[in-house]
């Protein structure tokens, strides 16, 4: 079975899990400057994206600001 990351509530399979959060954002084409991330429930400061290692089964939340009242 392929390695998997649960991203924003949905399982996503990868040939190889991106090594870091930064890699993942690049693959997803998400501008890291605009998001805040949780990995396995822990908030990751933006300046730690590139030294946050990811592994099979990790749960990742990618959050962003939208219009709201």
């Amino acid at each position: 079975m392929m390695p998997t990351l649960k991203i924003n509530g949905e399982d996503k399979n990868f040939e190889n899990v991106p090594s870091t959060l930064k890699n993942l954002l690049e693959i997803l084409k998400v501008d890291e400057a605009t998001v805040v991330a949780e990995v396995n429930g822990n908030i990751i400061p933006r300046n730690s994206f590139n030294n946050t290692a990811l592994h099979d089964g990790f749960k990742i939340e990618l959050i962003r600001f939208v219009g709201g009242g």
Partner: protein, 256 residues
């Protein structure tokens, strides 16, 4: 107009703007400018992985407008606290519009969970602006817990019904030691002016502006109405009378 001070920050405008429901980021940005506001609310949502480009934040000049992240979507204190921490991680500020709305239909705030979350978030150093039902006792508990304001609702959010909780809001204002911001349900400039005339310190408006046919013009209308209401409050209106009171003199009539 006397300046508004919340958590030691001065505001020249007493109108806060929500950023939801605009037809485009450009119209949102122009409406924000037309409103003269200095604080805008934003929400946190999951990035749409299918379409990760959109970034409304780029449309907001952070130098001119203080961001006030909200916890919309939170159904209880834990979810609200989680969103609060994410918001702080995403920005360099710790201001927060706290809202906990378990009911998806009327989106009314939960008094118990809101108080619980407020007590924790104040301890964590957040500047908490809680959205609440017009409940004077709850308002007092929140101010005692250290919130920076209280934000009682005028009527259900987005309903444009105006101030349907006047008696309770008057009591909240009379008892408040923190600024009172009337939030939700203000559908017309006259509603905002009425809130300010009652002595509210500020109002928060979103739907009425964002869903108007001409949002920019409506944003300006609310700007003027909030100034008018505040000026009237400061000018000291004369009271209501049951009988008439002639504007013209009651002597010197031309009679034979």
């Amino acid at each position: 107009m006397k300046k508004l001070i919340i958590a030691n920050k001065e505001f020249n405008s007493r109108l806060f703007i929500g950023t939801g429901k605009y037809s485009s980021n450009e119209i949102m940005a122009k409406s924000i400018e037309a409103s003269g506001t200095e604080m805008v609310t934003v929400a946190l949502r999951r990035v749409d992985i299918q379409n990760p480009q959109d970034n409304m934040l780029a449309a907001i000049d952070r130098k001119k407008y203080l961001l006030l992240p909200n916890t919309s979507g939170a159904r209880n204190a834990d979810e609200a606290i989680r969103l609060a921490r994410l918001a702080r991680a995403a920005t360099d500020i710790n201001w927060l519009k706290l809202e906990v709305t378990p009911d998806p239909y009327y989106l009314l705030p939960d008094p118990v969970e809101t108080l619980k979350a407020a007590q924790i978030l104040v301890k964590e150093g957040f500047v908490v602006l809680p959205y609440i039902n017009a409940d004077p006792i709850l308002a007092k508990k929140l101010q005692d817990a250290g919130t920076a304001t209280v934000m009682p609702l005028a009527s259900p959010i987005g309903s444009n019904q105006g101030i349907k909780t006047r008696v309770a809001i008057e009591i909240i204002i009379s008892q408040a030691s923190v600024p009172v911001v009337v939030d939700a349900g203000l559908g017309l400039p006259s509603h905002a002016a009425e809130a300010m005339e009652m002595g509210a310190d500020a109002v928060l408006v979103n739907t009425a502006i964002a869903t108007a046919n001409d949002p920019l013009k409506m944003a300006n209308a609310f700007k003027l109405a909030v100034q008018a209401g505040r000026d009237a409050f400061e000018a000291g209106a004369a009271g209501v009378k049951n009988q008439a009171d002639a504007s013209s003199p009651l002597t010197g009539f031309l009679r034979d």
